[in-house]
Amino acid sequence: MKRKNGYPVLVAASLCLASLCIIVISVASGPRLLNPFSMDIETCRMLLAIRLPRTAVALLMGGALGASGAILQGIFRNPLADPYILGISSGASLAASFGLLFGISLLTLSVPILAFIGAIATGAAVVVLGHDRKGLQPERLLLAGVGVGFFLSAVLMLVMTVSVDDGLKRAILWMSGDLSMVDWGLVPVGLLFILTGFAIALIRRKGLNALTLGDDIAHSLGFNPTKERFILFIAASLMTAAAVSMGGVVGFVGLVVPHVVRRHVGSDASVVLPLSVVAGGTLLCFADAIGRTVAAPLELPAGIIAALIGSPYFIYLLGQKKA
């Protein structure tokens, strides 16, 4: 499909504008509608303590997952790769569920920190298992991730089955991407890890493009495929771990957002990475705003809403591609 030269710029500008509008809508919407341009002290307090941190976390999480998906689909050369297929979310879920179900708070370790540790430990285990004498092979790494993920999910289900604790519902909500409990406390550290992962990925964007063409051609272009894959995998793991620890498990965003972005602006990582951040953040922010508004005072998890909104659009795009 041919596109005019200015088309990606137009898409980026439209996306940024849509993102700004959705941020305003997200801040204003909820069980009680706020007018951001006319507020009293109580409204201001609610805005600063609840709506803004929630919007910030949704933007950061969605952005991190979108960029992680773009990285993983490139380094595995697999359109189905996403931050969760590698078992990272299963590791985070298991660790966080232990915290939620058994009230573990060792040395003040809270659920987000447990989730982060679980995610990073799983990522490290997957890298070790995905390594052979030829280096970090994409197929082996992917299979290691899937295997570790299934094992950890099975342990998680076992733990949840035998648990009768009140934390069970909280654990299920956490695994559906429920942002109702977030506050500013998680934002600085989450932001730091996400920015670090994103900066690494941007610096290595050329390596990511080259890996997409296969290891032999990446080598021919002067890259060391194992080294590039390892560094980019670390970047994606950092961003995923930070996202999961901030607001729980949100599937779909990391899988679909990079596809939608590529569909509109091509596959150059220099463009796809930043736009996946903007699109992922915007989608999750929008989903969270809808989730806390449509059935108020009941809150629906943002992860579920994001999948419900995004899936039909994704299927529509697939239909267009076939045509």
Partner: protein
């Protein structure tokens, strides 16, 4: 002057030796073919030349220096390797792919993207998806990337495989142009012994060893082909038919 040299190179994947004490060279601005039966070691030779594999014995020299001694970027400026099967699913547009050739150059590329696209005849397809190109066009797009990369040696693993006679014609013409106009050296593997006449020089291999090398007309005799491919029948008639095609190519300016 030789740009690529195999000096007594041996390589084995496990117990089986794939390349045994092999010596040959490729000069600057030369189109050299690598022919032999399946399992003769053609792809292994190309991967050794690209630095993808390291020999257990002997040296692979590019520009008089061991290929393993170069940094990734330095190596990429000298040698480019294209595998036989190019990814059909690569999600890039032609322009995006060719621009990747600039990666090792840092602003001092040998050829700009537009020039390279013009040279391979894909100037009008810069914004077309690779998946929408024919097999021949896709291979030309990858060759354009290596031209931007500025590699002095182009290593092509069976570039003519699965191409019809028209695309083979186009690709030979392109490679000859690159060799003549840019002084690039090409080492390519092929199964098409009849097309040997299109090459400047030919290396015939079997069981990881060089059977014969030199002018294609001298190397490709009924006897060497029978010996190399373990044939009992004469291939003279087959080769004569292909020589006629080559003459037709030559008549058309290839």
């Amino acid at each position: 002057m030789n740009i690529l040299e195999f000096a007594d190179v041996s390589f084995s994947y496990s117990q089986k030796r794939f390349v045994a004490q092999m010596s040959f060279s490729v000069a600057e601005g030369e189109l050299v073919g690598l022919m032999g039966p399946n399992g003769a070691g053609k792809s292994t030779i190309l991967k050794l030349a690209a630095g993808l594999l390291s020999p257990q014995k002997g040296n692979v020299l590019v520009g008089k220096q061991n290929i393993g001694s170069y940094s990734g970027k330095e190596r990429a400026k000298l040698v480019a390797y294209l595998p036989q099967i190019l990814d059909l699913q690569a999600p890039f547009r032609v322009g995006e792919l060719v621009r990747m050739g600039e990666y090792p150059q840092e602003g001092s590329q040998a050829l700009c993207v537009e020039e390279a696209l013009h040279l391979v005849g894909l100037y009008g397809k810069k914004d077309t998806h690779l998946a929408e190109l024919s097999g021949g066009e896709r291979r030309r797009a990858y060759i354009a990337m290596t031209l931007v990369q500025g590699a002095r040696v182009l290593l092509l693993d069976e570039p003519m495989a699965s191409l019809d006679i028209r695309y083979q014609f186009d690709l030979y013409k392109l490679l000859k142009d690159i060799v003549r106009e840019k002084g690039v050296s090409v080492l390519m593997s092929s199964h098409d012994i009849g097309m040997g006449a299109m090459l400047d020089r030919l290396i015939l291999v079997k069981g990881g060893m060089v059977i014969a090398q030199g002018d294609p007309g001298t190397v490709l005799t009924d006897k060497t082909v029978q010996e190399s491919y373990d044939l009992n029948e004469s291939v003279g008639a087959y080769m004569e038919t292909n020589r006629t095609i080559c003459r037709a190519f030559a008549f058309a300016g290839v």
